[in-house]
């Protein structure tokens, strides 16, 4: 067991070099027990390589990691006993039933036959596959396979769950169901590390996020804090109003960082605080205010803006 106060996952200067290519470049990460942390970034930014190093499946070129109190390089079995891993585009033995697939990994994990039976049934109920446990995996859809992968993680009763792109291939409905299951993991007290490039989805489940860019963590923190940092304001307000000179009038307000025109009579205001009352007062006098909507700061926006700035600077 990890000691109280000790992080569930800690990475110090984790680096992976493939020949001349630096896939992961000095990643530092601290995840407290019970947190849900998202690692986000474009494809090829080093997310999966970082995860593999945390699991001890790839040897880091430099740096070290401590996962659940153990060194994944020297004590990989101890780490893997405590960590459940759902790889991206998870695969199963198609010719075997869902139960046989999970019983195999359960035996590899050292579970007894009785434990496998009990935990399998419970896990399958939780992921909503209770009726198809005896069916061959060949008959499963992508979404069902993804759930089956999560059931495997649940069966292990892990301290830490590492989910690599868990929602990448799911439709919107399955995605929101899947995110609910991930919240369920947190309710069990499991620490969750998940990687994704579906930012808006991740935003809704993660306590903290780390943005990966070219093998480094470019930004990390809670979503609102990041929005503050990148967008200059933590609040986004959509304004719908008819009239002339609205952009200028909005800009004059104290606390407004930026005003964008989204469409005809539609404006987006980035602000450092909730300015809805002031905006209403300002526009009510002359222009026709049609709508005023509070838009949560979107991670997507943080992300696009950040990489825009990085690319502009380069």
């Amino acid at each position: 067991m990890a000691m109280a106060g000790e992080p569930a996952i800690r990475a110090e200067g984790l680096t992976k070099r493939y020949g001349p290519v630096l896939a992961v470049d000095g990643v530092n990460l601290d995840i407290a027990p019970g947190e849900i942390v998202g690692i986000l970034g474009p494809n090829g930014s080093g997310k999966t390589t970082t995860i593999l190093m945390l699991l001890g499946l790839t040897e880091p070129s430099a740096g070290r990691a401590v996962v659940a109190g153990f060194d994944p390089l020297r004590q990989p079995l101890e780490v893997k006993r405590r960590v459940g891993y759902l790889p991206d585009s998870v695969g199963f033995y198609d010719g075997l039933s869902a139960r046989d697939n999970l019983a195999y990994t359960g035996r590899l994990a050292g579970l007894s036959r009785r434990e496998i039976d009990e935990r399998f049934d419970r896990a399958m109920v939780r992921v909503g596959l209770a009726d198809v446990g005896r069916n061959r995996v060949a008959t499963f859809s992508r979404g069902m396979r993804q759930r089956l992968g999560l059931a495997e993680v649940l069966m292990k009763n892990p301290q830490i769950a590492i989910l690599d792109e868990p929602t990448a291939t799911l439709d919107p409905h399955s995605t929101s169901e899947f995110l609910d299951m991930i919240r369920g993991l947190k309710a069990d007290g499991t620490t969750v590390l998940l990687s994704s490039h579906h930012l808006d989805q991740v935003q809704s489940v993660c306590d903290r996020v780390a943005l990966f860019s070219r093998g480094r963590i470019a930004l990390s923190g809670a979503v609102t804090a990041l929005a503050q940092q990148v967008l200059g304001g933590g609040y986004v307000i959509d304004v719908e109003a008819r009239g002339a000179g609205i952009v200028e009038r909005l800009r004059r307000l104290d606390g407004v960082v930026r005003v964008q025109t989204l469409g005809a009579d539609l404006y987006r205001v980035d602000a450092t605080r909730d300015l809805r009352a002031e905006i209403a007062r300002e526009l009510a006098s002359s222009a026709a205010l049609v709508g005023l909507r509070f838009a949560a700061p979107s991670l997507n926006e943080v992300y696009t803006r950040y990489f825009q700035e990085v690319n502009d600077a380069a």
């Binding site: 390089l73 020297r74 079995l77 101890e78 893997k80 891993y85 195999y104 035996r107 994990a109 992968g149």
Partner: protein, 317 residues
Amino acid sequence: MRREGSPLTGVGAVLAKETADYLSGARMWLTEALVFLTAIGAAYAAILSIRATIGESPFLFLRLFTMAQDPLPSFISLLGFLIPLVAIAIGFDAINGEFNRRTMSRVLAQPIYRDALLLGKFLAGLLSLAIGLISLWLLVIGLGLLLLGLPPSGEETVRMAGFFVASLAYGGVWLAVAILFSIIFRAPATAALAALGVWLLFALFWSMIAPFVAAAIAGPPDTLFGPNLHYLQISQIFDRISPNTLYADAALALLHPATRALGPVLYSQIQGAVLGTPLPALQSFLLIWPQLAGLVASMIVIFAVAYILFQRQEIRA
């Protein structure tokens, strides 16, 4: 840096699962059916000709394995040809199949080392081969009992058991080759073709190349004063690189008790020997000990190479 924990954790689980897969898979059924049909046919033909010439040899039962009856080759030469095929069929997608099904990272995320996966798969392949061979043996022996009405003697049983061990070692070499290619090539079809290519090389072409190589090194096969001994030795050394030759030698010495030597013999060496009399089983085992050791050693060496390559392989597909 030392890793903690046993590399053997999980071998049992892998072994059980893979053996069940092999034994129930369609591929195994097809190859086994092929082997059984041809081998039983060969043994049956041998029985028919033994009945015609009964009483010529004290080792009637062993002749079941060695006697060829046109148009069928003998049981042992069929096995020498078909065992590699079965072994390759078992092993050619052992590792790359896991990658292609995307099950590799899921399996290795369990608390086992890679060693356990590779060793478990290899042992499962050997076990499946052994199960197939034993059932084949029992079938042939049963056929012999029924049609010849004669039980095998104690010495014949010992020799048949020795032949089984040699067959298993021979199959193990080809299984290791197949698994090696399944690590090197990501596409199972490429791995299978590469393994079959090596098999063809040794099964068909090796004995054709041997004379050329020997002649290039040692001069022409015949001199003015008789056969060129140096040529014969080189040719034999070259021949024995092939596991097929080692296996054929071992089978010959074990199942033909009269076999006294497996290479060129000088007149001085057979002075005083009573030609045509059988050797005791122990002496035959001594005769093929190098062959057997060679087969086991090459199996281990090829497996070790596969092991090293697999340890260095990146897990991400």
